[in-house]
Every structure is written in structure tokens, then in C-alpha cells.
Amino acid sequence: MTLREIKELLDAEIVVGEDKLDLEIKTAFGADLMSDVLAFARSGCLLITGLSNPQAVRTAYALDIAGIVVCRGKALTDKFIDIAKELGIPILWTQFIMFEACGRLYREGITGCIREVLVEDKQRAQ
């Protein structure tokens, strides 16, 4: 699915990354806890989160995450947007709650970037 299709599906606004709407997305990860994102998310996935602060963008950058969907219509600060621009992380902004956003994406074929946390995952990253 492209970021453009995801934008439509989630009735979202593209806040950063207008030029990256053709980006192909296959997997996603949803969490508000950045330590969990750092532990389990994979490069190239879409991050669905209710955290709209600089740390969410920097976490996405650390892992080469393809883009962020900010759910629940969380307020976006200028600082958040500036850092996303600087680091080249596309930002979609939706009013949907995380469950609804994830459900809509899953129904259209987006899968979790990992399916479950395995013992190996806990011990060592890929």
C-alpha cells in the first residue's frame, strides 16, 4: 500500500512528506512507548502512535521507520514538525484512535512488522 492510500484510508492529513506519498508500506508497528518501538519495530515499517513529541520522530529515525501516523488527533507542535522535516520522516495525522487505525490498515493487508515477541526477540535484535 502506498502512503497516499494510507492517507485516504485513515482520513489523514499529510503534515510532512508530501513528496513521499508514493512510498510503499507493507508492515506496521503500533505503540506509545518508545522503548518498545526501539526494542521491536523493524526498518521500513509504519509507526502508529499517540506520541507526538520529538522523541517519536527521533525513534523513527533511529530505526529507519518509513513514516509515522499520529493517531487520536494528538496536538502537533512546531518542534515536532520541524524535526520530522529535518530527518525526512513523513507524518500522517488522523483523528482515529489507534485500534481503529490499525484495524483499517490490517484489513487492507498491512501486517505487523513482527507478529509476536519471541524469546529470541527479547534476547537479541535482528
Binding site: D32, L38, R58, Y61, A62, Q126
Partner: protein, 162 residues
């Protein structure tokens, strides 16, 4: 200036396995309680490593380790430094700080153990996963601390896997 102050004041925290300064690639000062900029050092180090053409999967590991180490200094210490060394075959990250230190280092490393306050949770951290994450992404890992003095953390990531 600030960086060297931290480094020299707590040189006792140094251990024998630190690469020689010949491989020192960068050093960053980290200010305690500076929540807004948390993660900036991790981002900067990542940018630098990308320019050097280091494999992306290795850079991701370095980025996670530096991120969690940086957040810990900001969250719990007064001030500290993060330095990184690029050696042939490995990258080493050293995080040192002056601060309250850690009483029980085993307990601190347990997943879920945390003394974080709300300001740390608001950043998306403080669930007691940080040190576990650093460990998980490291090929070599060491942490030592002196209560009321400071904490020293070293992580080495092999470029060709474990």
C-alpha cells in the same frame, strides 16, 4: 569544555576495554533533565555513521543504544557524555555521567524495573526497558556505577554480527 570536565572528573569510571583515542569519532555533552532534546545525540551519531558508509543494520543498533543511553543520562543524571569509537570491525559507545548513580545494578537491568517520573514517561520512556534494550543490541556490554557519583556504560557492536 563541559565535555572534558565530565571526562576528567570521573576518569576513575574508565575501564580497560575502551578503544584507544585513535578510534574516537565523536563526543557529545548531555545535560540532565533536558527532555526536549532527548534523542538528538542519537540522531547526530546516526547521521555521521551514514556518511561513513557503515551498514544500515549496524547503524540502527548504534542508534538504539545511544538513544537509550542518552535518555538515561537526561532522566537520571546531572550531566554526562556520550562518545563513540569506530574501529575496524566494531563500533563502541561509551556513556558516562555524574549523578546519583545506581545502587543495585542487577535490579536496574531487569526488564520493567524503573524509577522514572512522569516527565520521563511523557517522552515515551520510563518503562524499565532501556538497559535491556541496550543489552539486546550489544555484542559486548558493560555497566558500572558508584552511587552518588555516576554511571559508566560501554556497548560494543560488531560490524559482522556476533
Amino acid at each position: 569544555m563541559k565535555a572534558s570536565r565530565v571526562a576528567s572528573a570521573r576518569s576513575w569510571l574508565r575501564t580497560s576495554n575502551v578503544p584507544s583515542d585513535e578510534y574516537l569519532e565523536g563526543i557529545y555533552y548531555v545535560q540532565g533533565r533536558d527532555f526536549v532534546d532527548a534523542g538528538i545525540v542519537s540522531s547526530e551519531i546516526k547521521k555521521n555513521l551514514k556518511e561513513k558508509g557503515i551498514p544500515e543494520s549496524i547503524i540502527r543498533k548504534v542508534a538504539v543504544v545511544t538513544f537509550e543511553a542518552e535518555v538515561n543520562i537526561i532522566s537520571y543524571a546531572e550531566q554526562g557524555t556520550i562518545q563513540y569509537y569506530v574501529e575496524p570491525g566494531s563500533i563502541t559507545i561509551e556513556a558516562k555521567d555524574i549523578g546519583i548513580g545506581i545502587e543495585d545494578i542487577e535490579l536496574a537491568q531487569q526488564e520493567g524495573y524503573s524509577t522514572a517520573d512522569d516527565s520521563i514517561r511523557e517522552m515515551g520512556f520510563g518503562a524499565g526497558m532501556g538497559l535491556a534494550n541496550i543489552r539486546k543490541y550489544s555484542d559486548e556490554f558493560e555497566i558500572t556505577s558508584v552511587p552518588k557519583e555516576g554511571t559508566y556504560l560501554r556497548s560494543t557492536i560488531y560490524v559482522n554480527g556476533k
